[in-house]
């Protein structure tokens, strides 16, 4: 518990958190504007124009999207915080002090993982509160009701929370695997932002080549895809059930967390 407090204090006493916080807020605002326009278009019966139809065109589905606005970049930001929690120690050579204070290194990493999930929760809470207030107001004014009683909306909010916690933990894992600050941040950001498109393209090509549409579902092995699958809930011809995504994402968090502990235990701090 002391270690979690110490890790949170480390974050509070530098400018990292509010810089990324502002980033997440701006991302949320922009995403909300886009989603609001989308919801308005779809719910006024012109869903075909923007390529949304079927279950996705329902009011609860659109509300769920609206209430989780900013998630795409928000997850990137919490992952970056997780990465910085570890790489800062090497970049600023504070690892020495940290491990002198707590020679049991497993506890140090567990403390970071604990603090990371709390931070993920904090970011989720902040963006969700903003989304709920703005979204409820928008939907009511647009004449669709707040949709806050719908399970689909609750589900989206809850899984969004899970995603925030897991992505922060993933960040900690990545930080221990790539202790070089710049290297870790750039690798993670590129993989998250560009990698997903590349992976989707690769699986599309693979499915064409093998002449099997089922292969495309395997793109869920990519964490960002798994995350989308978990949150969207509705399986489609290209995506497996939500729990497959949840399982894959949890698997990544467990593996990277464990690898982080094992690597950190062995590493010489010079």
């Amino acid at each position: 518990m002391n270690l979690v407090r110490s890790e949170l204090l480390k974050i509070r006493t530098t400018s990292t958190w509010w810089l990324l916080g502002i980033g997440a807020f701006v991302a949320t605002a922009l995403a909300f504007a886009v989603n609001a326009w989308l919801a308005h278009t779809v719910l006024s019966g012109r869903g075909e124009e923007v390529g949304v139809s079927g279950a996705q065109a329902s009011a609860p589905a659109q509300a769920a999207g609206l209430y989780t606005s900013g998630q795409y970049l928000g997850l990137l930001f919490v992952m970056l915080i997780g990465i910085l929690m570890v790489t800062n120690e090497f970049f600023h050579q504070t690892a020495t002090t940290t491990f002198l204070t707590t020679p049991r290194r497993t506890s140090v990493i567990l403390g970071k993982l604990g603090a990371a999930s709390l931070l993920g929760f904090g970011f989720w809470l902040a963006t969700t509160v903003v989304d709920l207030i703005a979204g409820a107001a928008f939907l009511s004014l647009d004449g669709h009701g707040t949709q806050l009683g719908e399970w689909e909306v609750h589900r989206a909010l809850l899984f969004n929370l899970l995603a925030y916690a897991i992505w922060t933990i993933l960040g900690v894992g990545i930080g221990t695997l790539i202790p070089n600050q710049l290297g870790a941040v750039i690798t993670a950001a590129v993989l998250y932002l560009v990698g997903t498109q590349v992976v989707q393209l690769l699986f599309f090509l693979l499915s064409n080549w093998l002449d099997s549409e089922a292969v495309v579902k395997w793109q869920v092995v990519w964490p960002a895809v798994a995350s989308q699958v978990m949150i969207s809930g509705e399986p489609s011809q290209f995506t497996p059930a939500w729990w497959v995504g949840a399982l894959v994402l949890t698997g990544y968090a467990v593996v990277s967390g464990t690898a982080g502990v094992l690597i950190t235990r062995r590493r010489d701090i010079a």
Binding site: N2, T96, L100, P103
Partner: protein, 312 residues
């Protein structure tokens, strides 16, 4: 310390290094090194650059895993200490704080992790005279202030053992004098103080004991006077006399070696000062000066580590 919780009976505080070895890919940085460090004394840990001082200290503190051997503090390996910061304080490198964090927050983070009360941060900062810079960010600190912050961090738990790696680096003469008084004071309270350095004149003023290593191996350990004396024993006697030829002849009869120093004095090796005096008396030679040339720590160090300081 203000809270005075620490007492010498809390433990022996002895540091024991035995058979410590660190093998990097191509270099044996530390090679079967053994020595002990006693409480109540300042021990200087000396060696040329690259001798393995820092690696040894980092193995002692569980930051680097030894290839072989063991190091204990008060009978425990550092990793096994129940409450490390309350037992051992270490100052390893001056730059180990987040650039954007203030000095006081740096200490508060450590207090939180170690379960120490928050006001210890303020007390430790006051102890090293850094209170006026408490809320300044670390990147604005001078090298001397960074060293003081490092010492403040080490003193947070009011530890029995202090380990410092090159603490005099970057300090101005005033800062060095402050550090000397500070460390001597801690040793006088019965604490163990181990200080690595390559500033030999400073060490001669500060240390009670020295451990000298070169190329990863122990060269000599013991009280400063004794280590210097071990060389001085075979050292030279300077003697000044108006009857240089008679004395030279008499001393050579005693199989001592006599050379002129070029400034009118004789340098005698192979006979100590009392012997030279006796020989002079027997030969009825008048003496104007009779001094044992005691080499300083620097001279001893250079002699002991000669040829061992090459780049490895």
């Amino acid at each position: 310390m203000s809270d005075g919780q620490w007492s010498p009976s809390a433990g022996t505080g002895q540091i024991v290094v035995s058979g410590l070895t660190k093998q990097y890919k191509n270099v044996r940085a530390v090679d079967n090194l053994s020595f002990t460090v006693q409480p109540g004394r300042v021990t200087g840990f000396l060696g040329p650059n690259g001798a393995g001082k820092t690696t040894t200290l980092r193995m002692l503190l569980n930051l680097v895993t030894p290839t072989a051997g063991e190091a204990t503090i008060g009978g425990h390996r550092y990793a096994d200490l129940a409450d490390p910061l309350r037992s051992v304080g270490a100052v390893l490198e001056a730059s180990s704080a987040h650039k954007g964090r203030t000095g006081i927050n740096h200490l508060r983070v450590i207090c939180a992790a170690a379960g120490l009360p928050r006001q210890r941060a303020d007390e430790a900062l006051a102890l090293v005279g850094l209170t006026p810079a408490a809320n300044r960010k670390f990147k604005g600190y001078s090298l001397g202030m960074k060293q003081r912050l490092g010492i403040a961090a080490a003193m947070l738990g009011n530890p029995q053992v202090l380990i410092l790696d090159e603490p005099a680096n970057g300090l101005d003469p005033e800062g060095i004098r402050w550090m000397r008084g500070f460390l001597k004071g801690l040793a006088a309270e019965g604490r163990t103080v181990l200080v690595s350095s390559h500033l030999l004149s400073e060490m001669q003023l500060l240390a009670d004991d020295v451990v000298i290593i070169a190329a990863g191996r122990l060269v000599r350990q013991g009280p400063v006077d004794q280590v210097i004396g071990s060389i001085a024993h075979g050292g030279r006697v300077r003697v000044r006399t108006p009857q240089a030829e008679e004395l030279t002849a008499a001393l050579r009869e005693q199989s001592a070696t006599v050379d002129a120093d070029g400034h009118g004095a004789l340098l005698v090796t192979g006979a100590d000062a009392p012997t030279v005096g006796r020989v002079a008396l027997a030969a009825k030679v008048e003496l104007h000066e009779l001094t044992t040339e005691r080499p300083d720590l620097e001279g001893v160090f250079l002699e002991l580590t000669a040829g061992k300081a090459e780049i490895r």
